[in-house]
Structure formats: structure tokens, C-alpha cells
């Protein structure tokens, strides 16, 4: 644990040095990776830690993005207030939706999260007067002090690192252990007197909270929001990132996001057929590396230790 913490501090330090490269490319890519990494890690609270396959996580990302955007643009709220309201809205939405979803298990849970995220998407898509419908909202007001890629990168880094810190505290606490217990065997956990549904609901809310932070960051980063942020393929994409990195480790999803976004940058500069590459990666992953990148590295290390 102690050693790992030093390792993490070193990584954060390295990440803080990225803007020194003075390359807009790496600063943008870094910001993108941090945001999507936060989104994927927050999804993994459900997927990897609680064992709930959520197929509608894009809803909370989108709610965060739209809450921030609408409060800034239509209600002219001050930046800190709009930025803090986003995760609160995300968590409240997750609470309301979660109450229904956790009543179901496995495939039905996944379908219900999908249904709800599609409801949110359809509302955003159709409510032209508020959300601009298919055209989305562009030109989101921007706080002055974040008005450069480097500054926004540092802002994102601070927010994301702080979010990771809290989530990691949570999963390593008795609360987090309980989530893992539920993942392993919900029936038995129920038998020893644990309110499984309550824990699942809390996990759902926390996950929605941090997904919404990622969404709000994305809205600032992208200067615009579109209904596609809430459409189901976006949920699938973040699920793939999580799986690619490895769902059984805390930072796995971040690694997955980094690898996938870097590859996308690389591939899209040569060809428009990115989905083809992503589909191939996903298929290879499912057949040959079910533990994801981090899972694979861990088993390699285990083998060498045994020898």
C-alpha cells in the first residue's frame, strides 16, 4: 500500500509535467484521457467493484454536461456553482433511476439502465427549446481563468486526482469491501444481514456523481454538448475502455481510456474506420486478455514471482 502510494504520487508528478512539453497535441490528449478515465473509473465502481453491469452510464455523464451547460448558458450561474451542481444533479438522477434498477439483476438490470438512459437521451434530443435538440449547444460560457489549454489541463488534473482520491478511499473502506462482497455473492451477503440493495444504490449514486463530474469537465473541454453524449453507444464505449484496462483493478479503466484514446488519435489520422479497429481490439481482448491490460500485467508478474 505504502509503496503503491509513492508510485501514484510519482505518476501525478509526471502528469503535472505534461504541459511542459509545450505541445497542444499532448495537452489536449492528456485532458481527454483524464476526463474519460474519470468516467471509466466511476463506471467501474459498479462494474468491477459491485458486479452491476450498467449499460446506461452515458446518461449521468450527459446529465453532468448538460447541467453545467444549461446553468452557465441559460441561467447565468457563476462557474463554481454550476460546476458543483453538475455532480449533485448526476447523483440525484442516479438515485431516482437506481431505486428502480437495483430491483432487477443481471441482464434485466442492464436492460433497465439502458431504458432509463434512453429516456434521458430522448428527452434531451426532443426538448429543442431547452437543449437545442440534435444541434446541441455550442459556445458554452467559459471561466476566464481556465482560458488556456494548459490551465484547463491543470484544473482537470486537480479535479480528477481529487475524485480518484475520494473513490479510492471509498473502495478501500469497509463500505468498499462490502461492495466486493456483494459482487462475489449477493445472496450470501443478504443472509448475513446486509442490506444489499442499499449498498448497491449507494454505489450507483456515487458512480453517477463522478460520471457527472466527468461530463461537466467534458462540456468545458469541448465548448459544446450534443445529445450523442447520452446515446447508448457512448455507454458501450466507456464499458469497452473499462474492460480494456481491466475491471478488477482501480486504475485499470484509466489505463484503458489512455490506450484507447491514444490509439484513436493515431488511427483516425490515417483512416476513418476507427470502429473497425475498436471492434477488433474488443474481440481480441475478449478472447485473449479477459482481465484487460492491467489484469494481463498482473498475471505476468505473478508468474515471474512463482518462478
Amino acid at each position: 500500500m505504502f509503496k503503491e502510494n509513492w508510485f501514484l504520487i510519482a505518476i501525478i508528478f509526471l502528469l503535472a509535467l505534461v504541459p511542459l512539453s509545450d505541445s497542444r497535441f499532448y495537452i489536449f490528449l492528456g485532458t481527454d484521457i483524464l476526463i474519460m478515465g474519470l468516467f471509466a473509473v466511476s463506471l467501474n465502481l459498479l462494474l468491477g467493484y459491485t458486479g452491476l453491469v450498467c449499460f446506461g452510464q452515458a446518461a449521468y455523464f450527459g446529465i453532468g454536461a448538460y447541467t453545467y451547460t444549461l446553468l452557465m448558458k441559460k441561467a447565468s450561474f457563476s462557474f463554481p456553482f454550476a460546476f458543483l451542481a453538475a455532480p449533485v444533479f448526476g447523483a440525484v438522477a442516479a438515485l431516482i433511476i437506481g431505486i428502480f434498477c437495483i430491483q432487477r439483476t443481471k441482464i434485466y438490470f442492464a436492460m433497465l439502465t439502458l431504458a432509463f438512459s434512453q429516456i434521458v437521451w430522448a428527452i434531451v434530443f426532443k426538448w429543442n427549446s431547452l437543449t437545442g435538440g440534435d444541434n446541441g449547444i455550442i459556445g458554452i460560457p467559459f471561466p476566464q481563468h481556465l482560458d488556456s489549454p494548459t490551465r484547463f489541463y491543470y484544473f482537470t488534473l486537480v479535479v480528477v486526482v481529487f475524485s480518484f482520491y475520494i473513490m479510492r478511499k471509498a473502495v478501500n473502506s469497509p463500505f468498499g469491501r462490502m461492495l466486493t462482497t456483494i459482487r462475489e455473492n449477493p445472496e450470501r451477503t443478504e443472509f448475513i444481514g446486509i442490506n444489499v440493495k442499499l449498498f448497491q444504490l449507494l454505489a450507483f449514486m456515487i458512480s453517477g456523481f463522478f460520471s457527472a463530474i466527468a461530463g461537466a469537465l467534458f462540456a468545458i473541454f469541448n465548448h459544446s454538448v450534443f445529445p450523442d453524449l447520452l446515446f447508448w453507444p457512448h455507454s458501450a464505449e466507456v464499458l469497452i475502455m473499462t474492460l480494456l484496462g481491466g475491471m478488477y483493478s482501480f486504475f485499470g479503466p484509466l489505463v484503458g481510456a489512455a490506450v484507447m484514446l491514444y490509439l484513436r488519435m493515431l488511427v483516425t489520422s490515417y483512416t476513418q474506420y476507427w470502429p473497425l479497429i475498436m471492434g477488433t481490439i474488443l474481440a481480441l481482448l475478449l478472447f485473449f486478455f479477459p482481465g484487460g491490460i492491467v489484469g494481463f500485467l498482473k498475471t505476468q508478474r505473478l508468474f515471474s514471482r512463482e518462478k
Partner: protein
């Protein structure tokens, strides 16, 4: 559902009986396509336990391949019908190969892996289709015998749509007969209940799974082949139909045969009329319907609760 369903014509709402009839017939046409696709989806889920995200992609392939065959068989008699036969059978073959080579290896894994593999197929098939057929809109002309329109209460309704409406129940009946009154049907229903027991009784469950997946793929391909003359064949039709097919099987009940038909009929009418009465709310309403069914009756309107 990103764009308007192709079989519908949106007009200003007016409570004219002939217009209402035409509108409900449009809904019925769309319901038949939904039924074809959703019944394959439901069959595969019932027997293999896999929710096949790629089912919409197989449907899209059916439409593209029919276009391909139509342009191959130019000037041949019955050109369209041969294209439908070859197009849908090619999709069935592709489905069988996918099951045999890939899906098979994932049965021992968690459900999530199977689900995500079918999603990988969605990505791969959509890009392959773009590479082969481009991103433009393709179309197939209606077969010569069904080119006309029939007057119904003073309005005209295309003959081809009537053919589809008649074909749907025919296929439903055929499937019901096969499932409930034949040896193969008995084996398929047994596999849905207890595959280990069936295997120990001497049935080759491996091959059965391939056969079931092939039939399911054929149904999707047939849906795509038949929709090709009345829909624009474009990338994105896969993603559009799959969500509606999910809604149909959820409403009717995953793995329930008559439930799928009922779900398709309900969704067809809801889309057809919803778009007239509440153009803004209809799409939201469909997803709410899906959520309500999952909350109150997760096994669907006509399905049976799981014993497990």
C-alpha cells in the same frame, strides 16, 4: 430510433377514419419487420442465453446483400425474390459461421463478455458495410407484381406493404407449428429449459446452438431483405432497429414467442400514432414503456417468470 421509421408517412393530424386506417396499416407493416427481427433475437436469447446486439447488424446486412443480389440478377425473372432468398440465406450462413468460430468459445465466460462480443460485431459489420457499399443511401425497387397501390376507403396503400402484413402472420404461424409440433421444435424448447439434461439425453447441443443461431440470423436477414424496397439502405439502420427490437422483446417477454408478436404489434402502433399525436413525446414514451415493463413485469407481458 434516430430517424423516422421509413414505413410511416407523417402528415398533419386529422381524425379521418380512412386516414386512421392507413396509419394503423403503416404501423402494422412496421410491426411485421419488428416481429421478424425480434423473434430471432428472442429465439437466440431463449436457447443460447445471449442478448445479441449484432442482430440489427444482421438485418442491415440482409438489406445490403439483397441490394447486391438485385444488381447481380438484373433482368432475370423474379429478380427481387431471388435476391431475397439469396440475401437472407447469406446472412444465415454468416450467422452460423460467427457462432461456430467465435461465439462458441465465450459460452463458458460471463454474460458480459458475450454481450460485448456481439457489440464488437456491431462495430465490425457497420464498418465492413461502409467499406463495401459506401456511406450513401441505396435503394431497391419494389418487385414488378407488387408495384401498385390498393385503394382503401379512398386512400391508396402500397400493395407491397399488404404483402408484408400478410406474410408476417404466415411466418409466425409456421414458426409456432415448428416450435410446438415438430421434433426439432421440441428439442429447441428443451434446450431453452435445460441444456445439460438435453445433452445427456444424447442431443448434440453444440450443433443445436449453431442451428438456432443460424435460424435467428436468417430471420434478421429476411427482415432486412424484405424491408429493402421500402426503406433507405443506409449505415445506421442497424443501431436504429436493434433498440426497437430490444423494446419489443422486453415488452413481450424475453424468450416468449407470442409475446414477441404482441410486443411488435404494440410498438408498431405506438410509433405510428405516437408520431402524429405527440411528435415530441412518442420516442420518450416508448422508452418509458420499456422501463415500466421491466420494473413491473421483467418477464414481459406474455413471458413466464424465471424459476431460477
Amino acid at each position: 430510433m434516430r430517424s423516422k421509421p421509413v414505413v410511416l408517412k407523417v402528415r398533419a393530424f386529422m381524425p379521418d377514419p380512412s386516414f386512421l386506417l392507413i396509419q394503423s396499416l403503416s404501423g402494422l407493416t412496421y410491426a411485421m419487420f419488428l416481429f421478424l427481427i425480434a423473434s430471432g433475437l428472442s429465439l437466440i436469447f431463449g436457447v443460447l442465453g445471449i442478448l445479441n446486439f449484432a442482430h440489427g447488424s444482421l438485418y442491415m446486412l440482409g438489406a445490403y446483400l439483397t441490394y447486391q443480389f438485385v444488381s447481380q440478377f438484373i433482368d432475370a425473372p423474379g429478380q427481387f425474390w431471388w435476391a431475397v432468398v439469396f440475401g437472407s440465406l447469406s446472412v444465415a450462413l454468416i450467422g452460423g459461421v460467427i457462432e461456430r468460430l467465435f461465439l462458441r468459445r465465450l459460452y463458458i465466460r460471463e454474460e458480459l463478455n458475450q454481450l460485448l462480443f456481439t457489440y464488437a460485431l456491431v462495430l465490425l459489420i457497420s464498418d465492413f458495410a461502409k467499406i463495401i457499399w459506401g456511406t450513401g443511401q441505396l435503394s431497391v425497387s419494389r418487385p414488378a407484381i407488387l408495384k401498385g397501390a390498393v385503394p382503401i376507403l379512398g386512400q391508396y396503400f402500397p400493395e407491397y406493404n399488404i404483402f408484408v402484413i400478410a406474410l408476417g402472420p404466415g411466418i409466425a404461424l409456421l414458426f409456432w407449428l415448428i416450435l410446438h409440433h415438430s421434433r426439432w421444435g421440441r428439442i429447441i424448447r428443451a434446450a431453452a429449459l435445460d441444456r445439460e439434461m438435453l445433452g445427456s439425453l444424447g442431443v448434440n447441443v453444440n450443433w443445436l446452438f449453431t442451428v438456432v443461431f443460424t435460424i435467428g440470423a436468417w430471420l434478421a436477414g429476411l427482415g432486412g431483405a424484405l424491408v429493402s424496397p421500402i426503406a433507405a439502405i443506409v449505415p445506421g439502420m442497424d443501431v436504429e432497429i436493434i433498440i426497437n427490437a430490444f423494446i419489443v422483446v422486453v415488452i413481450g417477454g424475453l424468450g416468449s414467442f407470442w409475446g414477441t408478436l404482441l410486443g411488435a404489434l404494440i410498438l408498431g402502433q405506438v410509433i405510428s400514432f405516437g408520431i402524429l399525436v405527440f411528435p415530441r413525446l412518442s420516442m420518450v414514451f416508448i422508452y418509458i414503456l420499456m422501463a415500466v415493463v421491466l420494473i413491473l413485469r421483467p418477464w414481459g407481458l406474455l413471458g413466464k417468470p424465471l424459476q431460477r
